[in-house]
Symmetry: C3
Subunit: 424 residues, 3 copies
Amino acid sequence: MSDTKSAHSEDIFQRDMAEYEPLIRRPVRKKIADFNRDGRLKHVILSAQFTRPLLDEICDHADMVRELAGDTDGKRKLGTLLSHLHAMLYFTQPSTRTFLSFAAACRLLGIATEQVRDSAVSSETSEGSKRESRFDSIRMFSSYFDLIVMRSKAPNFAECCAYLMNELESREFNTRNIPILNAGSGADQHPTQALLDVYTIRRTFQFQDTKRTARPQFMQLRERYPELKQGIDDKTYAFCGDLGRGRTVRSLVELLLNYDHVRMVFISPDNEKFRLGDDLRNRLIERNIEIEEVDSLDAQINGKPLLSQIDCLYMTRIQQEHNHPEDEQFFASTDMSHYHLTPERVKSMRTYAPILHPFPRDSVAGEIPTSIDSDPRAMYFHQARNGLWARAALLIHVFNADRTLMQMYKEHFADVHDFNEAVL
Amino acid sequence: MSDTKSAHSEDIFQRDMAEYEPLIRRPVRKKIADFNRDGRLKHVILSAQFTRPLLDEICDHADMVRELAGDTDGKRKLGTLLSHLHAMLYFTQPSTRTFLSFAAACRLLGIATEQVRDSAVSSETSEGSKRESRFDSIRMFSSYFDLIVMRSKAPNFAECCAYLMNELESREFNTRNIPILNAGSGADQHPTQALLDVYTIRRTFQFQDTKRTARPQFMQLRERYPELKQGIDDKTYAFCGDLGRGRTVRSLVELLLNYDHVRMVFISPDNEKFRLGDDLRNRLIERNIEIEEVDSLDAQINGKPLLSQIDCLYMTRIQQEHNHPEDEQFFASTDMSHYHLTPERVKSMRTYAPILHPFPRDSVAGEIPTSIDSDPRAMYFHQARNGLWARAALLIHVFNADRTLMQMYKEHFADVHDFNEAVL
Amino acid sequence: MSDTKSAHSEDIFQRDMAEYEPLIRRPVRKKIADFNRDGRLKHVILSAQFTRPLLDEICDHADMVRELAGDTDGKRKLGTLLSHLHAMLYFTQPSTRTFLSFAAACRLLGIATEQVRDSAVSSETSEGSKRESRFDSIRMFSSYFDLIVMRSKAPNFAECCAYLMNELESREFNTRNIPILNAGSGADQHPTQALLDVYTIRRTFQFQDTKRTARPQFMQLRERYPELKQGIDDKTYAFCGDLGRGRTVRSLVELLLNYDHVRMVFISPDNEKFRLGDDLRNRLIERNIEIEEVDSLDAQINGKPLLSQIDCLYMTRIQQEHNHPEDEQFFASTDMSHYHLTPERVKSMRTYAPILHPFPRDSVAGEIPTSIDSDPRAMYFHQARNGLWARAALLIHVFNADRTLMQMYKEHFADVHDFNEAVL
């Protein structure tokens, strides 16, 4: 592949994207209306699309899916729910975790999948296709598939594809408008990661994990932390690491705005590239969210160690792959251990406070060493698995299969109940 | 990968292919007999295998599949039709569109798929496999799968694989002969593309697209074009672009020979590489087909603009990736806009005349600018989607499931009818 | 990808593997206990896990699967057996044959599959993932899938993954322990290849292949070879080729130790790298197995040509891709035709003695020329197909679905029987 041709391909893409510029520049509220249909998400593009009632609904349904998947028969039933559908997983930005999580969620509901992966190695870059508009490709996918899940390096590409679908639908001739799901686009949006984060936080703060006995129970906890409440509201969330460049923190913070009395602490190097972005800070201030910004996990707030005061710690990896030479220099001259968890630091945390991480973690830098994995507060592997349930529930919402799910759930556990009674 | 080893692999392949040379050199009629079994296509290798009754049957069944796929219940039924089968999609020449179309057609009928893609990046080129005969690979696939759909850069490779299958079956020990479907091989054959083209033309000339109201209805059209008839016969088909190097035009022309009173216009640069090939011209003359060859979309025939006289315009892309230096020079000194459609040119076409394109289109050269996409004559996206229905119908034919399909269709729409009556 | 980063990734991997060193160094018997659960294989890592009763059971079930797959209805039934499961095929070492065989076996039983292939081209090597511990990846897979089938260049990697699964299960919090299946790891173990080899040998020595009439029947054979017995016991097995470097011979020899009175002949260049490894020779001597080592297919044993005395010939390819410069020199100065089968040599073999080869075969070196393929002794293509049945039976064992299979088999053939009676 010659650079000339590659450049061509990028030029075409930029030219095509430019046509959507006026739509992209609109305020978020206006956009959101374009992504909904009949009070339901049609396309899932931005975290801001999730309202509190919707988050509650999806989390409830994720719980149902999880329970149904707990036995073979329930799994078989789930596998019929959307088995008439065929999804395209279009991941031109490399990803293993999000890709597999979506693939597994589709499979769980019976949705068949096809994939186009990293375009550098896929047939997308065949000589003949290099000069094809990427929007022609997307339109082709919409002919063959019922859903496109997409991850792209290009900011707003998923958003533009949603506009394309709407545009085709609204033309005089009858064209399918299939849902576009943003599985990470550019540096700014990763709404389904935020969704699974919220689902994990909700489950953790229900304090009802009966299987994992090492997790403390609510009544005992209340003796030690009298002000502790169940639920996502009324909590202090800390975010640590590469806050400026990571899209997961940005997307999760967006979702947490749906909850009451949340406080946020941001822990990062004091450098404009890595600390909380100005736009997000302004947005939080506007919304009257109580925030703190510090430059170490050992920092104090109101004279006490911050780690002893938070309800949830969200760790992130330094995204070395986006470093510029000046960043390398900055890191070389900065004591990065301030952003690494250690068993000692974990000990100073509240006994119930979950540690989250969107993964992958950096096993060289070691922001979370494996020695912490067996601590009951380590919830990051559970969080990864929750991606499966949360994404399945989202698909059920998008395809309006909630009622069928609820009916299935009711019947399944009635059967199980009957069966148990018969046995007894 | 060293060049030496790569060369090796190619040498082995050429050596193996050479053994089939005597079979390849036979006249087409003799070959066709080898690809059929009991009055049914066994292997789908050449366009010339499609007779008119077979084309009619496949198009009828494609319509049924399309209708069944129109509702969830019908889709679920279709998904059981061939759900005991497992297909190998062996695409060693890059392709996204044909690949996805076949994958989606398989899925629609419940056929599971596995794939080997562009051999440059697949495990096919593992050190150990480099010196394996490709026919050993194909024979292995035939052990694990019930069908091989293949696209290859090597001319006649699919044909040779069909001979291999026949050969194994005819030996004394009992070996499976699984169908080989040619999804594009070398520069000459792409029979399933031609099939979907014919299906699209047939649907268009039924003048019955009730959903797309912008498409004109037959009775109104007859007022303006009194000689217009329904169907593929009695029409003038124009082909524009890279006629010498593209296999789609060649394959479609072959299929159109099955119809009565078709006339053909070929529009291309007047250069032996890009105009209609001598062999194909001779064949058309032999068959007494009325043809015209011109060098511009603006050319006149019998003193009138050709665009106002044709019933169907088939556009193609200049295949830049096959250019030699002298071709680059030729294009640099040629006004290629003669082979690009413009809104003005479209205006001069008959109101019902479909514009087709096998895709991908070249968005830099712009043989069809996007401004034409919303014209009711633009049928190229519908054409792409038709690949799904036509290929599904072909699979149904090959696996002798036509009767089951017809039964399913009858029962499904009887049910729907009953249901509607019950509701009323 | 810079070399520095790539090196990093390898360093991390070595560091992580080192933690399992004490477990890896244990004697095989101690390890085996770790891979079993309730008298059943949990993880399939080493050939030594297969006992004779287990081999008998798996071969019996493989026969049932094969028979059920013989008709459409049986295939549909099989496809429900494990249709609630989802497998990850993690093949970071290139492989087409083993990969497709596992994919087809999964499909046959209704298991959905997802894949990660050669890490050099997969998203595994995305910048962000390069510094992720591979054990974090495996743990993630265990969240989304019910089974991991893995092939890796790294010796013992599959074994370590099995330990990781056990470790997670045994910790206080409830984590899934999903089966790990070794589909070839490093230079030493390929247990499922050995399993299909044993299955092929068993079928061959049942002398009951009624379909392939060219294969001689037992009673006739006894006239010519009065000492011939049915079954795997009491036979002489010859292995020819790259014995020192290939893992298939090593794994098969291991399994044959389960049978009585087997004799083994090893035919290879007389060079410490290519002949039988010292460890394996010592192990055979310890077990009192009668072995011979010779340097040509034309060698004599007890004054008679060895080829006329063996019951089974297992050919292998010289693994050129592992050559060091001194090996190239060695081969250049060695007459390698001593390790190539010819039609003449085949003629000197017993009429019933099967010729096996794990494939791919080297079509340049030509250790088995294609002219031998039609000889009734050539069983290598059947052997490849047997991978499907043997692997399906293994999956059925691992997921404890043997009883369901037997029930299905009984009912299916009762139905078929009833149906046939009804027709008559």
